[in-house]
């Protein structure tokens, strides 16, 4: 049973209606970026792990490294592939950052990812709930606290990964900077991997999160899921919609329409 379900609030019919109604959660560009990132991370992680040749710096077994090096027919190709994909990825992120600064970047980091008191409570209670305790979790916004922490972790790590990657690949800066870049690149990638394991499990395997997984394919979630898992967002969205309809009903004749249909969050 989902965590926010309040049996008194909605009738069975209303709930069934909400479960049928799909509402937009992710824009097409963000769905695309997500899967593009996933693909890049897969290739960069595989090639990057195989690039570390000395057992002094890695626990990756040599048979794995040998397989990847074999696929690429040598370490040099592997390195060039890793760098090329990395540069291309950075370029795409910059394009998103520059052109989406108003529509996505600022909104995402300033509004959607802001942590509040409920989020910290959620972080403590959620693991207990996963382990079977019957707990009512604090209401969450468009992203839950776990997603927010992961988004912050990955964002900070990417801000380390890309510059250190460029420093190493193109020998930028003094020697000490290049020498520190290698372990920093490694450390930030590994921190993302630690988070990625949970991200993949939650999205891919947890039954409660199925709608979230499919929302990363078609961008939509059903309204009941939105209500139960992202109540603050659902409430805000409903309020925006009502305001829009009210403004629309007040406008008469011809002239400018009220300020667009509210965005998805």
């Amino acid at each position: 049973m989902s965590q926010h379900y309040n049996p008194d609030q909605f009738s069975v019919e209303v709930r069934a209606e909400m479960a049928r109604k799909l509402i937009k959660k992710h824009d097409v560009v963000m769905v695309t970026l997500h899967w593009f990132n996933a693909l890049v991370w897969f290739f960069e992680l595989m090639t990057g792990m195989a690039l570390i040749a000395s057992t002094r710096y890695t626990y990756i077994p040599s048979w794995f490294t040998d397989i990847i090096v074999g696929i690429f027919n040598g370490r040099t190709n592997l390195l060039y592939f890793h760098i090329t994909i990395g540069v291309f990825w950075s370029g795409i992120l910059v394009v998103y950052g520059v052109f989406g600064i108003r529509t996505y970047l600022t909104k995402f980091y300033v509004n959607d990812l802001r942590m509040d008191g409920d989020d910290f409570k959620w972080l403590v209670l959620k693991p207990l709930q996963i382990l079977g305790y019957r707990i009512r979790l604090p209401e969450q916004g468009v992203y839950n606290a776990g997603q927010k922490v992961f988004a912050w972790l990955i964002s900070i790590c990417i801000l380390l990964i890309i510059p250190t990657g460029f420093i190493m690949s193109f020998h930028l800066g003094p020697l000490w900077l290049i020498q520190w870049s290698i372990p920093m690149h490694y450390a930030s990638v590994m921190m993302v991997v630690a988070g990625l394991i949970i991200h993949v499990y939650m999205a891919g395997l947890m039954p409660e999160e199925r709608p979230a997984f499919f929302s990363m394919l078609h961008g939509k979630v059903n309204e009941l899921y939105a209500y139960e898992n992202h109540t603050k967002w659902w409430r805000q969205r409903r309020k925006d919609e009502e305001r829009f309809l009210e403004e629309l009903s007040q406008s008469e004749g011809w002239g400018p329409l009220p300020r667009g249909k509210p965005r998805n969050r």
Binding site: A53, Y57, P207
Partner: protein, 247 residues
């Protein structure tokens, strides 16, 4: 498959430095850098007692247990099938970990290519048909002897078998170098007194040490913790069974 090595007869060396010049000319070694060296060691003792002097004639020792190879994160530095320690330039990112980890100071960062450079026993020359490296060819006193340890008839092998030889190694640091020193035993002792071999000279620089000692175990612990957490949740999910997803 060969096992290339070099012997240097310190009794014969006159310190002319022709070998260093030949090497620089052959490889276009940048100013203030060198792939091999001849360093005069000042006389020791007081007249009329023993006065000893020698030259520290050195180059990459092409060690059998090279500290530079394990220090190199990308695998650019490797030991080839013929016993030479080489640098694959395309793979070198110029981090200089190996430069710090070589206790002999046999490596340098080429300021032009920004990659590591070192003696490779003139591999390219030899591949093109030369019999010996440039430094050996020009030595006026035949102090340098180059050869293959697998070849029992080689001049090198004969010299090593019939004379006392020493290597620049100590109990503390023995990387199994492949450069052998002939001549008075005192010469190598003098060289070691002036250029002591210490364990810390085989270590890569601080960032690499932080990586090995802290970053590697801590990130592994984070990944382990995260993996165990989701595994636990998954086992519980299996045990509990799934609720119907349709509302």
């Amino acid at each position: 498959m060969a096992n290339y090595a070099m012997a240097i007869d310190l009794d014969r060396c006159v310190g002319c430095g022709a070998c260093v010049m030949a090497c620089k000319a052959e490889w276009g070694v940048a100013d203030k850098h060198r792939r091999d060296w001849v360093i005069p060691i000042q006389p020791e003792g007081e007249f009329p007692d023993a006065i000893e002097s020698t030259f520290y004639v050195g180059l990459c020792n092409h060690c059998d247990e090279p500290s530079c190879v394990s220090a190199c994160p990308t695998g650019a530095t490797y030991k080839d099938i013929d016993g030479r320690v080489l640098v694959e330039s395309d793979l070198c990112i110029g981090c200089g970990y190996c430069v710090t980890a070589c206790p002999y100071g046999a490596r340098y960062l080429n300021p032009e290519s920004q990659k590591v450079d070192k003696c490779d026993f003139c591999k390219t020359r030899m591949d093109a048909g030369a019999k010996e490296p440039a430094c050996v060819e020009v030595c006026i006193s035949d102090a340098r002897i180059f050869g293959d340890l697998e070849d029992r008839h080689s001049e090198l092998w004969q010299n090593l078998v019939h004379h006392d030889t020493r290597r620049i190694a100590t109990e503390e640091v023995d990387l199994k170098p492949n450069v052998y020193y002939l001549g008075d035993e005192h010469h190598v002792r003098q060289i070691l007194a002036h250029f002591p071999l210490k364990k810390e000279l085989t270590e890569p620089p601080q960032p690499a040490q932080v990586w090995t000692r802290w970053i590697l175990p801590l990130t592994a612990a984070a990944i382990g913790l995260s993996f165990s957490g989701q595994a636990l949740a998954f086992f519980y999910q299996l045990y509990k069974g799934e609720p119907p997803t349709e509302e």
